[in-house]
């Protein structure tokens, strides 16, 4: 069973995905990442309004056994977080690309997007 990689998204080599919505970047973790982590049981969401730099720790996702840091794929201000994950973190396992999105960042520097991987490049590293 191979992991799903969406053609219309951008990726990082640390297994985050980015959906570009104008000036906003919606962020989550990939199907590959959720299947490696297995049951996600806790998400510590980032603070709304916080300024974050590309590559910094955005939030933490925990499975029963492990703690995994999720990194910001782009720099900017965090404008929205998926509150639903606090009560139902397993949504990330069930729907990593849709219902299981984690946060939205107002993109500060669009040139940073160039360094993200496209679907083909991401498929090659998983």
């Amino acid at each position: 069973m191979s992991a799903e990689v969406k053609e219309d998204l951008k990726y990082t080599d640390t297994h985050e995905w980015v959906r570009i919505k104008g000036d906003l970047a919606q962020i989550g973790i990939t199907d590959h990442a959720q299947s490696e982590l297995t049951d996600i049981v806790f998400v510590e969401l980032p603070n709304m309004g916080k300024e974050i730099k590309k590559g910094e720790e955005l939030c933490v996702v925990e499975s029963v056994k492990s703690v995994s840091e999720i990194y910001a794929p782009v720099s900017g201000r965090i404008t929205n977080v998926n509150k639903k994950l606090e009560e139902t973190p397993e949504v990330i396992n069930e729907s990593p690309y849709e219902e299981g999105w984690i946060a939205e960042i107002e993109i500060k520097d669009k040139s940073e997007l160039d360094s993200l991987l496209d679907a083909e490049a991401y498929k090659r590293i998983i």
């Binding site: 297995t38 049951d39 049981v41 806790f42 933490v60 925990e62 499975s63 029963v64 056994k65 703690v67």
Partner: protein, 372 residues
């Protein structure tokens, strides 16, 4: 060198994800820790725990050697009985916790993973030093250890043997034929559920037995279970894990294992324990149930009003309660039931209250899971 279980290929074949634990490459999980955990609580699971050690203790004073090197008076443990105990250093701190089985003229001891050499040497040293006519032999590599655990464990194994398993009482052991394989069965486990542990030798017989147990348990939804769920299952019951809870040198009194100590016999480490018992001001292992959201992990600080009073030795999310649970050593003043303490997780205090183990009781399982 990392050791592999004789069943390693079987685990690979059925899709295990592996982890290294105390020098052994063992299954961490097959599909999901949570699902495997609940399968054991509700029905039955099969564990390969061959990473655990096996020692034979033989000689005409085998009983004396065990009595002298553990907190148990082995003369109490009759033929056909298993006993949980701890082995201490001269200073009263724990070398290892173990179960020993009295099997006729000899004993089998099951030290923890990676402890076979240390415990074996220690026992032989003490036998020599104190002129005890007994010796220990490390036979860990000659045995596969299977654990069948859960409310349906007896029904599963009963299909594979003519011996009425109801005659093998809690903490009893004996030789038995299971699916035509002669093994040692002990009515013990590390899950807090009805369960049995099987010592299988030669190891070449274990693969067939492993599949036969899976077949026998199929109607109950049996699953192979990895070390991930083994850890969450034991923690929900408040059972200690040697590598975590004895780290840094802890006495059985500190580890709340006072109940295992038989004070009416001489044993290594007794004097410092008596002194500690009299003084009474020692840190004790304390169980904490999170009130706030958060998962405590090994090493998290425990605070009261911003002051450190202890550290978490084991922590996880309880798959049954869906809440963070932890054990850690705390000063005696803070161990009163329902005392609210803070566990510091990634720099933030998470409120937790002191509870008496187990975190998940038989009553809870009965009400919530309908277990009998």
């Amino acid at each position: 060198m990392v050791l592999k279980s004789p069943l390693h290929k079987v685990h690979e074949k059925i899709g295990a994800k592996f982890t290294e634990f105390a020098g052994h490459m063992m299954p961490l999980y097959y599909k999901s820790i949570k699902e495997e955990h609940l399968t054991v609580r509700k029905s039955v699971g099969l564990f390969d725990v061959s990473h655990m050690s096996n020692l034979w203790i033989t000689g005409k004073e085998a009983e004396k050697l065990i009595s002298f090197t553990t907190v148990e008076d082995a003369s109490r443990i009759k033929d056909g009985m298993s006993q949980y105990t701890v082995i201490l250093r001269e200073d009263g701190t724990v070398i290892d916790d173990t179960i020993f089985m009295h099997l006729g003229d000899k004993y089998m001891m099951i030290p923890n993973a990676g402890m076979n050499k240390i415990v074996n040497e220690w026992l032989n040293e003490q036998a020599e030093k104190h002129d005890i006519c007994a010796s220990a032999e490390d036979v860990s590599r000659d045995y596969v250890i299977l654990a069948v655990q859960g409310p349906k464990s007896r029904d599963t194994l009963q299909k594979l043997t003519n011996v009425d398993l109801k005659t093998v009482g809690f903490f009893q052991c004996r030789y038995i034929d299971i699916a035509g394989v002669n093994c040692i069965i002990s009515h013990t486990g590390y899950t807090g559920e009805l369960g049995f542990e099987l010592q299988v030798s030669p190891t070449a017989l274990a693969e067939d037995l492993f599949y036969k147990i899976l077949d026998a348990g199929e109607e109950y939804g049996i699953q192979p279970i990895g070390l991930g769920a083994r850890d969450t299952l034991r923690l929900e019951k408040g059972f200690i894990l040697a590598g975590n809870e004895f780290e840094g040198g802890r006495t059985p009194l500190e580890a709340t294992l006072g109940w295992t100590i038989n004070w009416d016999h001489e044993f290594i480490g007794k004097k410092p324990l008596l002194r500690q018992k009299e003084k009474g001001d020692y840190e004790r292992l304390t169980c904490l149930l999170c009130i706030d959201r958060g998962i405590p992990r090994h090493g998290c600080e425990i605070q009261k009003n911003g002051v450190k009073i202890g550290r978490v030795t084991s922590g996880t999310l309880s798959p049954c309660l869906n809440k963070g649970i932890a054990m850690g050593y705390c000063q005696p003043d803070y161990r009163e039931k329902d005392t609210v303490l803070d566990i510091i997780i990634r720099g933030k205090p998470v409120k937790a209250k002191v509870v008496k183990p187990p975190f998940v009781s038989k009553d809870w399982l009965k009400t919530k899971l309908g277990n009998i």
